[in-house]
Symmetry: C2
Subunit: 309 residues, 2 copies
């Protein structure tokens, strides 16, 4: 049984049993489309595709981890808008000959993450592919009637903050990260961030997205960056600095956001989240500057800093 190759109808039947309809899900898996109740007057929507050999490798990632990651990346995107994830659909291209248990493990990973964050999986598509495994998750979310937190809202003088620690995610954390949904919701509800993004491409690059959309600049303090232990381990292996890993590595899935300075001071004093909150700089009128520990200043380009120093 476990060694069977996946059959679309069997796997869909299994998924359907794992994902029953409820009050939110008016029509679930098994029809031409699902029908879901809208929590409020508008809906967040995001989609993300994971490709074997590009975003993960089945030699180092288990199918269950791949499923988790595919769902969690989307939860992180909804969180970065100040939203709560609600409903997902998933489409999978499984390599020909893929084992049924591995197909189920991917779905189990999707559902692990869905369950952890209150998401219902309501539909999908499944096919065999001659190529690598591809997994697309589309996620709906809700802001509870609040305006979404955009990339474009940063204002000159804002404090720039980040959740958690940065760098070295590829040592393993990128497969098992916890998207900052509770944190994004709490920030949106109580601290009115002006701009927010999740760090998927790397701090320097995602900061650049905020600056570009907001038409502002930033000044970062290198010695304020919350450098992760993983960044230090990665630095020991790569020969680059831990600072560079924290600035340039992708897939941290932490939240980067800006606040009015008095609100930032209150937030930093309250530290209401389970993860640390750190102010790493301020928003300026233009340019992107990194202030090194010795006080010298360098321009920071979106890919990091060392090769521009």
């Amino acid at each position: 049984m476990d060694e069977r190759r996946f059959r679309e109808s069997d796997l869909v039947r299994w998924i359907r049993g794992e994902s029953p309809a409820n009050d939110t899900v008016l029509v679930g898996i098994g029809d031409d489309a699902a029908l879901v109740r809208n929590p409020s007057a508008s809906t967040l929507i995001t989609t993300d595709m994971l490709i074997e050999g590009v975003h993960f490798d089945l030699a180092s990632a288990s199918p269950r981890e791949v499923g988790w990651k595919a769902m969690a990346r989307n939860v992180s995107d909804i969180a970065a808008m100040g939203g709560r994830s609600t409903v997902a659909v998933a489409a999978a291209a499984l390599p020909r000959g893929f084992a049924e248990r591995d197909g189920q493990a991917i779905v189990r990973g999707l559902l692990d993450c869905a369950d952890a964050f209150g998401v219902r999986l309501v539909g999908g598509d499944l096919a065999a592919t001659p190529g690598p495994l591809v997994l697309t998750v589309t996620l709906l979310g809700d802001t509870g009637g609040r305006p979404p937190v955009l990339r474009s809202g940063a204002r000159v003088g804002d404090a720039l903050l980040v959740t958690g620690t940065l760098g070295g995610s590829l040592l393993g954390r990128h497969l098992r990260f916890t998207p900052r949904q509770a944190e994004g919701l709490l920030l949106a509800e109580r601290y009115a961030p002006h701009a927010m993004i999740d760090i998927s491409d790397g701090l320097a690059r995602d900061l650049h997205h905020i600056l570009e959309e907001s038409r502002v600049g930033a000044r970062l303090q290198a010695d304020h960056l919350p450098i992760s232990d993983d960044a230090r381990r990665a630095a020991a292996a790569s020969g680059r600095s831990a600072l560079d890993h924290a600035l340039g590595d992708g897939e941290d899935y932490e939240l980067l956001f800006t606040l009015d300075p008095p609100v930032a001071a209150r937030l930093l004093a309250e530290q209401p989240l389970d993860v640390p909150l750190t102010q790493i700089g301020i928003i300026t009128a233009s340019g992107t500057t990194l202030v090194l520990p010795d006080g010298t200043e360098r321009p920071l380009d979106p890919t990091g800093w060392e090769h521009t120093a």
Copy 2:
């Protein structure tokens, strides 16, 4: 320029220019998620993945046709629920070295279809793949507050009808078909179909989906089936009968639905659609029977009939 390989940032910028925000789209392409206004209290959602070498071949399908098909398959699914498509997101895995103009042509095809059916493309994801082209479209839809038309609603005694003509779609129609959105909406608004599905897997197989979900049977009249000219051309090439092509070929994207017999009589008399409407059988308590032109009866299995005859 045309020969450039695609760059994610360039293509996203181009798409963004082609898909501005409007009254429905509160936040469009360019943030972590889009935000869209809900037309009513519930939302239809469906997702579909197209894979090069499985669902199309770039030797015979243009990139623009592939884009059209990816969007149109989803519009067809929403139509089969009696819904109107509203908002889409798309994720594309483009083969490494894929030309920028081909990437744009795929998006142009997506937008051709979106524009034709009133859909807004509000977000997406784009990556290079070492494998075949994969395109996932997720579509939201709206029933205008009406209950959706499910696969599970067929009742014993219902008339079984189909839009358009059937069979031979692979001769080319499968790339350029018109999803029956207007037809599905008009049926749902004025004729209250009990059950409906779009014919993507083939008449016999999609009928089987209705019968299985509704726990009923059906009796089809072979000489009532609206056999397409393409089915006759396919039959001339394959040596199988045109009837078999009409029963077994997939990708017709016509609507198959059931109605109260008096309503069916009124519908057939009024013929309110731009495509022909044909009654092909009735719903029975159990079993699936095909009545041949000479009056003999055969069981009809989901894959067609000739190999079971």
